[in-house]
């Protein structure tokens, strides 16, 4: 069946079997490999993408269900070649080690900040409780999300400082 999904702002069409999972479509058909398949059993959150702005596990949704809807992957955080504040914050606060959980963490974090711009530590930990990290022990992930929140609240002038030369 033919489906069209708006991925990171651009409409993309694919011909898929109904049983193809969204995460596989994103990685294999659309070549956006920033979204990772970790456990494939809906437990780890490494496959998290935003569907109409909300974090969902792309290993637990059929691509067909996303037909006509908007998906944001980690690649979509970049704007005109500039890092999103959350990406800059993860780098600044050393919020990653191997990086496998990081796309999911950043997307979940950005969705949290859209709902709650200055979350407490407990609120961040609660919000990321569907994203498992094996490396960091979560402390710097929490700090990164909170730092991004402060950066985004500070306004555009401050946000410019969060860009990093690639």
């Amino acid at each position: 069946m033919e489906i069209t999904i708006k991925i990171n702002g651009a409409d993309r069409t694919a011909d898929v079997e109904p049983r193809v999972l969204l995460g596989y479509l994103i990685r294999e058909e659309f070549g956006l490999t920033g979204t990772h398949v970790g456990c494939d059993t809906s437990s780890c959150g490494a496959c998290t993408v935003l569907l109409d702005g909300r974090p969902i596990k792309s290993c637990t949704m059929f691509a067909a269900q996303a037909d006509g809807r908007e998906v944001t992957t980690v690649e979509g955080l970049l704007r005109d070649g500039q890092l999103h504040p959350i990406q800059a914050a993860f780098k600044q606060e050393h919020g990653l080690q191997c990086g496998f959980c990081t796309p999911g963490m950043m997307l979940t974090g950005s969705a949290l900040l859209a709902e709650n711009p200055s979350p407490s530590e407990e609120e961040v930990r609660w919000a990321i409780s569907g994203n498992v990290c094996r490396c960091t022990g979560y402390m710097n992930i929490v700090k990164a999300i909170q730092a991004a929140g402060r950066e985004m609240a500070a306004g555009p002038a401050e946000t410019a400082d969060a860009t990093v030369a690639s």
Partner: protein, 288 residues
């Protein structure tokens, strides 16, 4: 892991959905949030030839009407979690919602899907047993309403006919002085419950009018601890009464020993959680 092949249908309305099910019968499964069905299909424990995706037919409102709380079957766990109405007037539901799976799963999972999946470790069914809720199901043949205790039949088995869709959950409006909570023991966020209890109390002139106790993950289906409930009806709410209720509830449960704990341990937790839940419910009912 890939499910086996199926044909995918996405009706635009409830009517279209019921007609599809009438046509496809037991060859079809209804897909709502998919957070239980898709994992099961990926493991090929279920392999329906047809999926009817009802994700866009609405049925997601949460509102009081006609003396009860009407919850659309497609209300997502996350919306129930954020509902001010539930926090104010339906504390057992408000306590349970944030404890279901994890926040990401809650963005898609639905209350109707959870009830129809009928996993004995599912949270909503215990809540609905404690609250004496009922469900409305629809097909091309008409509509019927079933009490939750009638709806839940066995492990992963409900009274739903192959051509029926659950459309609404109905929860009686609370009596004046009432309260309740949901207590869940889990090894980590997102795990299934080791044990969980839904407890609801309503008072009348200081005595217990009615107690509702639902138990999660300690039987072949979600259990209603009717002996414990009956032991409390009409009595003075005190520690001794709650201790007896806890004992009866533990006796009524039949947990299995597994990675989450021994049967004895789980039965003990039922006792503790029922007592603790009753104490909290009493506090709330008195404050109301």
């Amino acid at each position: 892991m890939l499910p086996s092949r199926f044909e995918y249908h996405r009706p635009d309305s409830l009517e279209e959905a019921t007609h599809l099910l009438a046509e496809l019968g037991d060859e079809a499964k209804v897909l709502a949030g998919g957070q239980s069905l898709i994992p099961v299909m990926k493991l090929r424990l279920a392999a329906p030839a047809h999926l009817v995706d009802i994700g866009r037919i609405g049925l997601d409102t949460i509102a009081e009407t006609d003396g009860h709380l009407a919850i659309g079957a497609l209300a997502r766990h996350r919306d129930l979690e954020r509902s001010d109405l539930l926090k104010a007037r339906y504390p057992v539901m408000a306590a349970a919602a944030p404890l279901i799976s994890d926040p990401i799963v809650r963005n898609l999972g639905t209350i109707g899907g959870s009830l129809c999946h009928a996993d004995p470790a599912g949270d909503w069914a215990s809540v609905m047993l404690a609250l004496q809720a009922s469900v409305v199901v629809r097909s091309t043949r008409g509509e019927r309403e079933l009490a939750m205790s009638e709806f839940l039949q066995d492990t992963f088995t409900t009274a739903l006919e192959p051509d029926e869709i659950l459309t609404e959950v109905r929860v009686p409006q609370p009596a004046g002085a009432s309260g309740g909570t949901y207590l869940k023991l889990e090894r980590k966020v997102g795990d299934f419950a080791t044990v969980a209890t839904a407890v609801h109390l309503s008072l009348s002139d200081g005595a217990i009018e009615r107690a509702g106790i639902g138990l999660t993950a300690v039987g072949s289906k979600n259990l209603q601890a009717t002996d414990a409930e009956e032991s409390l009806a009409g009595t003075e709410p005190n520690e001794a009464a709650f201790a007896e209720a806890g004992r009866l509830a533990a006796e009524a449960s039949s947990p299995v020993t597994d990675v989450r704990g021994s049967a004895d341990y789980k039965r003990h937790v039922v006792d503790v959680y029922v007592r603790r839940g009753l104490a909290r419910a009493l506090e709330m009912a008195r404050a109301a």
